[in-house]
């Protein structure tokens, strides 16, 4: 006899069965996927943790997104992406250990390291073990022949610096410029590159030797003599996100009225909390998340990152690209999955749509002008201006 109770029971059982079969199907589909390991060697602890953390979290967010939507199809196989991470603590010795770990795990594609000395240190390990790596470090020797396994993951300061100074010279009347940098290899080399670019543009460099310890907490003594020189533009060369708001605040409190800029990526929330309205007008390099240029995919990436880690980091705008490039290049040439020579061949002709930018922007490898070979990701050179808690796009440039 069919009554209401038994009908309901049958419906519930039916629904549960359908759900179970669907879930089992999805699980088995995921289980059938192969695993593609992509490495990360970078700094995720200590004072520079923000650089590497935003880097690895970008990769983890994108990997989770890909895996959730069925994996990535490369050739005839579908893969789930597994990000293997190693914290090098900004120590070149540990960076080498990290790259060796990647080699032991059979990984051929590694994102990082985040700083110059780490990127230089891992080169022999990467070249000996057939690893292509994507540093966020600027020394040209890493990308020029005979080196061939490193691919610069972002815009270098010697590419963005001249563009920023030229823009400010032409649009804001900048004539004098002062540099201040942390006493570490990356900021110092960025400062030297900046000084050279400024002089080439005919700007008067009024200060270039002022440096500070990276763990400085109060920058008033550092900036007091520079502010007295009243430069039109103060460049915070290679400034760490933790130090940028403190430097800006100290300069403004000392009465500095000129422009302040850097060639590194920054986070709007950090600037807002640390410098408040003093940060208005601060110019830095960004990626793709400003409303003017972000695509729907970029907006979804930001939303997924925020959901996964509780808070977005604007530095990830520049770090969203490396994993995308690796996967798209492998899709273009599946033979490269275990053969970096194939990957290098593909780099010369590779082109794919850039999912993170509005319009018909392309992913491709560049760097011919700077390095004599295509060893740089073509990420957009987005120059941002901070205003009341958010970045606004000042201008967008490209490198070739």
């Amino acid at each position: 006899m069919i009554n209401r109770r038994s009908t309901l029971k049958s419906m519930v059982l039916g629904a549960v069965s359908v759900f179970a079969m669907t879930a089992a199907g999805m699980l088995s589909a995921q289980a059938q996927n192969k695993e593609l390991k992509i490495g990360f060697v970078g700094v995720t602890s200590g004072p520079a943790a923000a650089w590497g953390t935003s880097n690895v979290r970008s990769m983890q967010t994108r990997a989770a997104w890909i895996n959730e939507t069925g994996g990535v199809k490369i050739g005839d196989a579908t893969y789930n992406v597994n990000i293997v991470t190693f914290d090098d603590q900004k120590d070149p010795k540990r960076a080498i250990a990290g790259m060796e770990k990647m080699a032991q795990e059979g990984i051929h594609y590694v994102v990082g390291p985040n700083v110059d000395d780490g990127a230089a240190a891992v080169r022999p390990v990467a070249e000996a073990n057939g690893i292509i790596y994507f540093p966020y470090a600027f020394p040209k020797a890493l990308y020029q022949k005979p080196a061939s396994n490193a691919v610069l993951g972002m815009i270098a300061n010697y590419q963005s610096g001249p563009a920023i100074y030229k823009y400010l010279k032409e649009n804001k009347g900048v004539k004098t410029i002062a540099f201040v940098a942390a006493n570490e290899s990356d900021p110092l080399s960025q400062r030297d590159g900046g000084v050279e670019a400024a002089k080439a543009l005919g700007l008067e460099v009024v200060a270039q030797n002022d440096t500070y310890q990276n763990d400085t907490r109060d920058f008033t003594p550092v900036l007091t003599p520079i502010v007295a020189l009243k430069p039109d533009l103060l460049v915070l060369s290679g400034v760490a996100p933790a130090n940028a708001p403190l430097l800006i605040r100290a300069a403004r409190e000392l009465g500095f009225e000129g422009l302040i800029s850097t060639e590194t990526a920054q986070d709007a929330k950090v600037l807002e909390e640390g410098a408040g309205e003093y940060a208005n007008g601060f110019i830095s390099v960004g990626g793709a998340s400003t409303p003017e240029i972000a695509s729907d995919a970029m907006k979804e990436f930001v939303a997924r990152y925020t959901k996964m880690f509780g808070e977005y980091n604007d530095e990830s705008n520049t770090k969203v690209y490396a994993l995308e490039y690796i996967l798209e290049t492998l899709k273009a040439n599946p033979a490269a999955i275990n053969d970096v020579a194939e990957f290098k061949k593909t780099m010369d002709t590779f082109s794919a749509p850039n999912p993170y930018l509005k319009g018909d922007a392309k992913l491709s490898y560049v760097g011919t002008t700077s390095f004599g070979q295509k060893r740089q990701l073509a990420v957009p050179m987005v120059v941002n201006e901070y205003k009341d808690g958010a970045f606004q796009t000042l201008f967008v440039g490209t490198v070739d």
């Binding site: 004072p47 923000a50 030797n209 007091t224 708001p245």
Partner: protein, 288 residues
């Protein structure tokens, strides 16, 4: 030059307050607390959360920082350092424990508060700008508070019953015990006070310098530097060390700026020479 001297005094007041807690713990227990900087960072993050995120008054946040760190300090003394001091035959064991605590706190802080630099709204707005001296009012307030805390601490140690007991412990632990001072109790209070000072100064300075999870180590190193200049375990020495370091930093960064970042090179070289002449620092021995 007026600005340079003002910067030096302000930095000195900050530094002295940072060094006080470290020297107190060293004086009482002969423990080099490598986790002092991490305690400072934790204090900063508590103030950030209470004042910056929850919007409660700054004083409440400062109290929360001090109280939380005092409890953490007391627990660390009771369950970690006391046990190790009692059981270990080697003094280095406490140093290893302190270093391990520092790494542990670093990891916990990173997990709880993330990798970003954090800051809070200014407690006082505006800038003092007279006679060639520029000092934001919030720095003046924090500097004054630092001086008040230092004075209160010195008076407490000098005239209170607890302070006298702790000074007795610092002078001669065995003699103090024989005279009826409860060593365990006052060691715990001392450790808690040292941690509380770290928490309070972290809370105070988050309004000026912000805080991030990676600065604990460098803060500890600077605090050790001040304590070595002044004389380990001497309150007056820590204060003097703080002001000397602040002034050297301020003057060095102005006078030596054309030569790059040589200020700390000069400071470290001077410290080496100084310690070879006065290995116990300026004041050289515990409270008399």
């Amino acid at each position: 030059m007026e600005q340079v001297i003002a910067n030096g005094f302000y930095l000195g007041a900050q530094y002295a307050l940072i060094a006080l807690g470290l020297t107190l713990i060293f004086a009482l227990m002969n423990v080099l607390n490598f986790a002092h900087g991490q305690m400072y960072v934790l204090g900063g993050f508590i103030t950030y959360t209470v004042y910056g995120q929850l919007g409660l008054p700054f004083v409440v946040a400062l109290l929360a920082s001090g109280l939380t760190l005092a409890i953490i300090g007391a627990l660390m003394e009771k369950f970690l350092f006391r046990t190790v001091i009692r059981r270990s035959l080697r003094e280095e064991s406490t140093m290893l424990l302190a270093a391990a605590t520092a790494f542990f706190l670093d990891a916990i802080i990173l997990l709880l508060f993330g990798e970003k630099q954090r800051g809070v709204p200014k407690i006082v707005k505006g800038v003092f700008n007279e006679g060639g001296i520029i000092l934001p009012y919030d720095r003046l307030v924090v500097g004054a508070l630092a001086l008040i805390f230092i004075a209160a601490f010195v008076l407490y140690m000098q005239y209170s019953r607890v302070g006298r007991a702790m000074r007795a412990l610092a002078q001669d632990r065995v003699a103090a015990q024989l005279m009826g001072v409860k060593v365990d109790r006052y060691s715990m209070i001392g450790f808690a006070m040292g941690a509380m000072l770290a928490g309070i100064v972290g809370g105070l300075l988050v309004t000026i310098t912000g805080v991030n999870s990676g600065i604990g180590g460098p803060i500890s190193i600077k605090a050790f530097l001040m304590v070595m200049i002044g004389g380990a375990g001497v309150v007056g020495g820590a204060i003097a060390g703080g002001f000397i370091l602040g002034m050297m930093e301020s003057v060095g960064l102005t006078v030596l700026r054309e030569y790059g970042d040589v200020t700390y090179l000069v400071i470290f070289a001077a410290l080496m020479v100084f310690l070879s002449i006065r290995p116990n620092g300026l004041m050289g021995k515990p409270w008399g």
